[in-house]
């Protein structure tokens, strides 16, 4: 039996206390992983933004539309543009439950060429192209509202009043490593344009552009904005990365607060663990005295204490991660994707988060045992043997 094994066995001597400590640690790890996963998912839109995609919108406000002819100018007059498309925010509601929020956008015919990471069958796009009132919807949204391909759907307009009727022609998915929102609803811009009042016709919300070479995107950005600089409606073009950052950055203060909370929770775990170890050491004072009297060095005693703490934190980390995976993958993650897909397009426990949680547990467990370990190592044999716990 090695000394480390003895240390590990020591942890099992007070089963109740060890179980509770592991449980407490595991809950802390679970909470840490949950919070970190939310932060990671939130930042995903920024981190995974396509490098070759740009968005052009009105310079002053996103509520102002661009004239439709801007798209032709971008397509023909700007060098380095591989493809360009446009979208308009419709803001319609699902009449059966107006509180359900999802992005519904009128889009140009070629819009799916701009999003090659989107998983959608060519058949579905073909169907959509031939169906004036067709719609392509995200898998999470379809699941949430129970839509299937072929279903007839009516949305109630808000910005564009009236009832808008659609047929679901296809459902798209997205690989988990992308940040594509799976709860969007795309339909034909021409359908919207035909149905709105005279003053609202031939307007587009924003232009999406893919560039040939991502390293030239700054030049393309500048070229687009310069093109419209003398027009009545000026534009701001930014990379998808910058746009997402600006949009998601609105909540950065909240995220920072969550980050702090996740650290506090680990500190609490350390306190619980440290307390347990300190108690164990206090109880075993006379035992350590005996060990020392038998010839074990202070280093050995310290090793016992630290080894015990590491065993407990290892178990706490494992149990915590074991709880986190099912909780996030089958519970909270799917809920967030369906209900807040615009902000949390893909919620998964990242390996980095899991590894961080696990490493932090071990490191903090080790740290928590340092003080008790030093105290145990300093014990005088005679004192230890004389003292009664």
């Amino acid at each position: 039996m090695t000394l480390l094994e003895v240390a590990a066995k020591n942890a099992l001597r007070n089963k109740f206390r060890t179980t509770m400590t592991i449980l407490g640690g595991a809950v802390a790890v679970l909470a840490f992983v949950l919070i970190r996963t939310i932060i990671v998912a939130w930042n995903k839109g920024v981190d995974y933004a396509a490098k070759d995609r740009l968005a052009t919108r009105d310079k002053v406000s996103m509520v102002i539309s661009l004239p439709k002819h801007y798209i032709d100018d971008v397509r023909t007059k700007i060098p380095g543009v591989k493809a360009a498309s446009y979208l308009s925010w419709a803001g319609a509601k699902w009449p059966k439950d107006p509180n359900v929020f999802f992005a519904n956008m009128a889009a140009d015919e070629n819009v799916f060429d701009l999003y090659p990471e989107m998983e959608i069958s060519p058949d579905a796009i073909e169907r959509w192209h031939h169906d004036k009132q067709g719609a392509i919807v995200g898998a999470a949204l379809a699941h949430k509202l129970g839509w299937k391909v072929g279903d007839k759907v009516v949305l109630a307009g808000s910005i564009y009043p009236g009832d808008w009727q659609y047929t679901i022609d296809g459902i798209y998915g997205a690989p988990p490593q992308t940040a594509l929102d799976q709860s969007s609803f795309f339909f034909h811009w021409s359908y919207l344009n035909d149905g709105v009042k005279a003053g609202m016709k031939d307007k587009i919300g924003w232009i999406v552009t893919r560039v040939d070479d991502p390293s030239k995107s700054a030049a393309v950005t500048a070229a687009i904005d310069k093109l419209f600089d003398d027009q009545d409606t000026q534009t701001t073009t930014m990379s998808e990365h910058a746009m997402n950052q600006g949009f998601l950055g609105g909540a950065s203060a909240i995220l920072a607060a969550l980050g702090i909370v996740s650290i506090i929770i680990m500190v609490i775990m350390m306190l619980i663990l440290g307390n347990t170890i300190a108690m164990a050491v206090r109880e075993r004072t006379s035992e350590y005295g005996v060990l020392r009297a038998l010839g074990f060095q202070p280093g050995h005693v310290r090793l016992f204490v630290i080894g015990e703490a590491l065993t407990v934190s290892l178990l706490a980390g494992l149990v915590g991660l074991g709880l986190s995976y099912p909780f996030i993958e089958f519970g909270m993650g799917r809920w967030l994707e369906e209900n807040m897909g615009n902000f949390f397009p893909a919620v998964h426990v990242s390996p980095v988060t899991a590894a961080t949680a696990f490493a932090a547990t071990l490191v903090l467990g080790g740290l928590a045992s340092l003080l008790p370990a030093i105290q145990a190592g300093r014990l005088q044999v005679t004192d230890a043997l004389r003292r009664i716990a």
Partner: protein, 390 residues
């Protein structure tokens, strides 16, 4: 009854354990209370502005001011509906306002930008909201490029400072001539400019986003709303301002409340387990003491209550430290995006007596739950065995 001094002395005798357990609890209560203060702060910002006798009119189908559009001539028609109150000067208490968001550069973040909400206000808008006070500078002159800005948004974006200017559209600088306050409401995160000026900038033709009316009494709402509904030409619907504000803050506050609840939940479990371990260890160490207490004639029930009391005391000490620390947060301001308007909103960690009391109650509860089982164990100790040695 076992003297309380016994429990107090014990907590003092085991200083390190007590401190660690109390600190753990303090952190839990701190996070618990700040999470609640955050939600409360947002709620306050969102609902502060609500007046029970005010109704907001939007185009049918619209649920936010940004989505809505009402033609200007309809404003006076809405004003003739039954139940609308009048200003002392006899004018109807009706204001049509145009809401938009503008992209502005943030201060302190290199290359950072965000949306700020602009409200095009009419001549009566400030008089309509008696809680709004200009705290610095002066009110803007109607029909000019002067604006007043909310206290909370001041200094957060470039150009949003008294006497500074910012561009609403190319080569048309807007001058900030005053700062207003409204008791922490969401208006404090807005820029108020002349309605015609905003309309021109945003190419909004002859429309406003919303029409607010003050009614003679909150009870007048039903009649007012029915009258608007009956007039199909208007194509608008009325909502109580309270309901409207509640709805428009739902997304943001549901998410934050859910996060706050989740955090508080896990933290409480952690703290409870911490308290349980501590109490459990205390009792294991004090077998002999407890045996003596029982031998002296204290009943099982007395031992149980004494230990439960000790656990609650420990929790309350931790809770008080945590609650006090959380109060320090109340000076902090925090901004987030209001997902209903896509604009930034600034709010405070808003403490309330209810939050502090509930945090302390939660702490006591954790003490009871954590201490109950160990206390039962203590009560079950057989005095003879315990005194013989453990």
């Amino acid at each position: 009854m076992i003297p309380i001094a016994y429990n107090l002395r014990n907590l003092r005798a085991r200083k390190t354990t007590t401190a660690a357990a109390a600190l753990g609890l303090a952190l839990v209560v701190f996070v618990f209370a700040t999470a609640r203060m955050l939600t409360h702060g947002i709620d306050k910002a969102m609902h502060q502005a609500s007046d029970p006798s005010v109704a907001i009119v939007l185009r049918k189908g619209a649920s936010a001011e940004l989505e809505s559009g009402i033609e200007v001539p309809k404003i006076s028609i809405i004003g003739t509906a039954p139940g609308v109150a009048a200003f002392p000067n006899g004018r109807q208490q009706v204001v049509g306002e145009l809401v938009a968001v503008v992209l502005l550069d943030k201060v302190g973040v290199e290359g950072g930008f965000s949306n700020a909400q602009v409200r095009g206000i009419s001549d009566d808008s400030i008089a309509f909201r008696p809680t709004v006070k200009i705290i610095e500078g002066r009110a803007a002159t109607p029909g000019t490029d002067e604006v007043v800005i909310g206290r909370a948004i001041r200094g957060r974006f470039k150009g949003l400072e008294l006497d500074a200017t910012f561009d609403l559209s190319k080569n048309r600088p807007m001058k900030v001539v005053g700062i207003f306050a409204d008791g922490g409401s969401a208006y404090e995160s807005e820029i108020w400019a002349d309605v015609d000026r905003v309309r021109a900038t945003f190419g909004r033709g002859t429309i406003v986003s919303s029409v607010r009316v003050r009614l003679d009494s909150p009870a007048a709402f039903d009649g007012f709303a029915a009258a608007l509904d009956a007039n199909r030409q208007l194509d608008v619907s009325a909502m109580r301002e309270e309901t409207f504000l509640l709805k428009s803050s739902q997304g943001t506050s549901i998410f934050l409340s859910a996060m706050g609840f989740m955090i508080a939940f896990f933290f409480s479990i952690g703290a409870m387990i911490g308290a349980m371990i501590t109490m459990h260890a205390t009792i294991a160490q004090r077998q002999r003491e407890i045996g003596t207490l029982r031998a002296l004639g204290f009943t099982r029930f007395q031992v149980l209550t004494s230990f439960l009391f000790e656990s609650i005391l420990l929790s309350l000490i931790g809770g008080a430290i945590g609650a006090a620390a959380s109060l320090l947060m109340s000076t902090q301001e925090i901004s987030t995006m209001n997902w209903a308007t896509f604009a930034e909103i600034v709010f405070k960690f808003e403490p309330s007596v209810g939050i502090i009391v509930s945090a302390m109650v939660a702490a006591a509860l954790m003490g009871i739950l954590g201490g109950f089982w160990p206390a039962i164990r203590a009560a079950r100790i057989n005095p003879v065995q315990a005194m013989r040695g453990a």
